[in-house]
């Protein structure tokens, strides 16, 4: 007799475990991560210390943690609008790139300006660029019923090529020795830092404000209610009289604007100019951040800090342990894997007959 695995929906689906599972996933990641270090002949305890503790043991490290967490949090907060509505925008990386092109373009266009309005307009255009790029998959989905996962993902590569074109073509720095980068933005187009000598910038405030607004929207407004209803059941959403197509547009625009904002903050903050590799996959990693934070604004802030730490840890590991920095992505992948696993086991019961 063959063994059959049967998967059944649990009736006693637990809310407590739903919020506990990120912690379980992190624990499992550390547990299995230690095997990776063992295989590499490294002491797990020492390695974890270098990976997770030493990067944030001084003020510079803490500042860097926030520098990395800010874009992750802003993008993930935006994505949570889509994901709550059961819309899968996978193209935040492209929207981030478009935001950098639009906002950064303003900075390059007025590169002689010293007006205090330059930075606000760059921020505004950054958000518009990201939102614009996100309306394309929304339009395709509502008009032609295309799969938004594919279109938003493919548009990411289109955006990256457009950035490529600008930095090797019309926006190339004439004094840049032929390198594929633009000239630096003027001082008035740079994002103010919070402390002299550290890179942590005012994007942090934006992340906190977006977190606060999202919390209100999700919990207190009809709009947030509509997103949740549509996420649970599109039929119930129709019964309630909500216009599902409009919700698709709104959520794409919000998440695109957030990603565009994050992109602009990267180029006008830590980077200061446009070049090819403006983002170490923040747009993709933010998907993990959003789910690890349970699509809850406060949870997203916490998970963005944790995932930012894997970026920093990976850099230190490369330096001190002589292992590739890709180990940071391995940890991000493990967290997502275990999170999906615990969610699955919380939702379904598996039995073997």
């Amino acid at each position: 007799m063959a063994y059959l695995i049967s998967i059944k929906l649990r009736e006693d689906y637990s809310n407590f475990i739903f919020y506990l599972s990120p912690l379980v996933a992190v624990f499992l990641t550390l547990f299995f991560g230690s095997f990776i270090f063992l295989i590499l002949d490294l002491s797990p305890i020492e390695s974890f210390k270098i990976f997770f503790i030493s990067p944030i043991s001084n003020s510079y490290g803490i500042s860097e943690l926030f520098v990395k967490a800010t874009p992750l949090a802003i993008i993930a907060l935006g994505l949570s609008y889509c994901f709550k509505n059961n819309i899968y925008n996978i193209g935040a990386e492209g929207q981030l790139t478009m935001g950098a092109i639009f906002g950064g373009g303003i900075g390059l266009l007025f590169n002689n300006s010293s007006s205090i309005l330059l930075l606000p307009s760059m921020i505004l255009f950054g958000a518009i660029g990201g939102a614009f790029w996100a309306t394309i998959p929304a339009l395709l989905k509502t008009k032609f019923n295309t799969n938004e996962i594919l279109t938003s993902l493919m548009l990411t590569y289109v955006a990256l090529f457009i950035l490529d074109y600008f930095v090797v073509g019309p926006w190339k720095d004439p004094d840049g020795y032929g390198l594929p980068k633009s000239m630096p933005f003027p001082e008035s187009g740079r994002l103010p830092v919070l402390f002299d000598g550290l890179r942590i910038h005012i994007g942090v405030y934006f992340a906190i404000i977006i977190c606060f607004i999202s919390y209100i929207v999700f919990n207190k407004t009809l709009f947030g209610f509509k997103l949740r209803v549509s996420g649970f059941s599109s039929k119930a959403s129709q019964y309630a009289g909500f216009k599902y197509k409009n919700l698709i547009f709104y959520t794409f625009i919000i998440s695109g604007a957030c990603a565009g904002l994050a992109g602009l903050f990267e180029v006008s903050g830590p980077i200061g100019l446009l070049y090819r590799d403006i983002s170490p996959n923040y747009g993709f990693t933010a998907i993990i951040v959003a789910f690890l934070g349970r699509l809850n604004p406060i949870g997203i802030i916490l998970s963005s800090l944790l995932i930012a730490l894997t970026y920093l840890g990976a850099e230190d590991a490369q330096l001190f342990l002589k292992i590739p920095s890709a180990v940071g992505f391995v940890f991000q992948g493990l967290v997502l894997f275990f999170l999906l696993g615990t969610d699955f086991l919380n939702k379904y019961r598996i039995s073997i007959k």
């Binding site: 207190k220 407004t221 009809l222 709009f223 209610f225 949740r228 209803v229 649970f232 059941s233 039929k235 119930a236 129709q238 019964y239 309630a240 009289g241 909500f242 216009k243």
Partner: protein, 500 residues
């Protein structure tokens, strides 16, 4: 001659319902034996027991004078019993021949199977291209594939569950020809239907079932549609309950020549539906499931912008183009057939489920902000006034029993003071206490001048609470019958599709 099948005291009980209660009757070899009854009369359960799909609690089946133990469809097939289901199980992307070979229990080469299938097709006139994919076939052709698949097993007995429900009149004629030819060649056919004229035209014998019991075994040629209809429903006359007179004369809703024209083969298009509803009137729409109930509800609710001709007039306003939201704002309320995931979100609290349906009301919001205080007190009122058994309005809707949730949903709609309430299957699958409570609430509501439309498969329920009943059959609506002095044989004829 020995009967080919004999049911002896078959009993099958499901929680809360006796599907088969001491069912005994015989089926003669080489005949077409029809089983007739309303929804839920127990026809499907009985043939599923014969096909080994369902195990009876008690009773036995004699096949060819031998006691048969049928534990699975495979055993049934080895005994020569095959079944064509109402819903097909075919692989869309595979060809006809590939689908046929998947149904074979014996090992056979594809070429051998093709020649065997072709012989069957030619002999009985199935028009099938064995190499075309299922996705390219019409519904009628797909059914032919299912029948050929059964015939390849050389059955002695073929069960057909509502085989005509998906076919066009032309296809039905063809099917009947095939069935008669098959029987002439030695097959015995068990035919489940609720269509009276088909039973008269096709069958040799008919067994009428009601509430899980056999009520008559008849020879078809002695009957006519009227007598069959009466025997199917006749007992209901005595149960009819008088309700109040209608005290108002103005029309609240009228549907004029409503027709839909969807291309989807799985929808029933509405065909020139007309009716008028007075203030305070309860209007019942009866009929067997799948005759356009879903589509009528869709047109009335307008969730999907379904295209239709004709007009819907609510209190002198043409509401054809109005969205669900706008219709609700005009004080039309809806209770859909499906509770979980349609008229309620199981993952959300009862309070949030109030907002689900009442988000058009200004008292529940300030701008776009939700006013939780008024929602919670509304939820509390519903829970109190409609006897909803729950500790609090914070409980998730999915945690309530079917009856409690339905009381909550109907209470939610009634408390919003609608002028028109449209319900689909309001007491489907709920406990008797909740059912009685809901019926009482609806009658009280109509006495306050609210008009009500009930779409239901449950005739008892309609006869108990409605002033008038019409029957929906293949998208057409019969004349309305006054429940007070209802002619049951006429209702039976309407149910079977024989309109005046």
């Amino acid at each position: 001659m020995q009967p080919i099948v004999e049911f002896q005291n078959i009993n099958k009980e499901y929680p809360g319902v006796v599907a088969n209660n001491n069912v005994s009757f015989k089926i003669k070899r080489q005949t077409i034996h029809a089983i007739l009854g309303e929804n839920g009369a127990g026809k499907s359960t009985l043939v599923k027991i014969l096909y080994g799909h369902v195990k009876p609690d008690k009773g036995q089946i004699i096949i060819n004078s031998d006691l048969a133990t049928i534990n699975s469809p495979t055993t049934a097939q080895s005994l020569g019993i095959n079944m064509v289901f109402q819903h097909f199980s075919l692989f869309e992307s595979l060809t006809v021949a590939e689908n046929l070979i998947l149904g074979m229990s014996e090992k056979i080469s594809l070429s051998k199977l093709k020649s065997k299938s072709e012989t069957i097709c030619n002999k009985y006139g199935f028009n099938l291209n064995l190499n075309s994919p299922i996705s390219a076939l019409s519904v009628g052709q797909r059914q032919s594939v299912e029948i050929v698949r059964s015939l390849l097993n050389n059955p002695e007995i073929l069960i057909m569950d509502e085989p005509t429900s998906v076919l066009t009149p032309e296809e039905i004629k063809k099917l009947f020809k095939i069935i008669k030819k098959l029987v002439a060649d030695g097959l015995t056919v068990i035919f489940i239907s609720h269509k009276l004229d088909e039973i008269i035209n096709l069958s040799d014998h008919v067994t009428i079932m009601r509430n899980g019991k056999v009520v008559s075994n008849l020879t078809t040629k002695n009957e006519d549609p009227e007598s069959l209809g009466y025997k199917m429903l006749g007992y209901k006359v005595s149960k009819t309950k008088q309700i109040n007179n209608i005290n108002y004369s103005e029309d609240v809703l009228s549907l004029n020549n409503l027709s839909s024209y969807s291309q989807d083969p799985f929808t029933t298009n509405l065909n020139k539906i007309n009716f008028k509803l007075k203030k305070g009137q309860i209007f019942g729409i009866a009929g067997v499931a799948g005759n356009g109930q879903k589509e009528l509800m869709e047109v009335l609710l307008n969730e999907n912008d379904l295209e239709f001709n004709g007009n819907i007039i609510f209190k002198n306003i043409n509401i054809n183009k109005l969205s669900t939201f706008q219709r609700k704002s005009l004080s039309i309320s809806y209770v859909t057939e499906q509770r979980l995931g349609h008229s309620a979100v199981p993952e959300m609290s009862l309070s949030e489920n109030i907002l689900l349906s009442m988000n058009h009301k200004t008292e529940f919001k300030r701008g776009d902000f939700i006013n939780f205080d008024t929602i919670n007190s509304y939820a509390n009122d519903v829970i109190k006034n409609f006897n909803v058994d729950t500790p609090s309005f914070n409980v998730k809707a999915g945690k309530l029993s079917g009856g409690n949730l339905q009381k909550f949903i109907i209470g939610r709609e009634i408390m919003s003071n609608p002028e028109l309430l449209i319900l689909s299957q309001p007491t489907w699958g709920i406990d008797a206490g909740s059912e009685a409570f809901i019926k009482k609430s609806l009658i009280e509501l109509s006495q306050r001048g609210v008009s009500i439309i009930i779409i239901s498969h449950d005739l008892d329920e309609l006869l108990e609470v409605c002033h008038n009943i019409s029957v929906l059959y293949e998208g057409s609506l019969s004349k309305s019958l006054n429940v007070e002095n209802i002619d049951i044989s006429k209702l039976g004829k309407y149910m079977g599709g024989l309109f005046d």
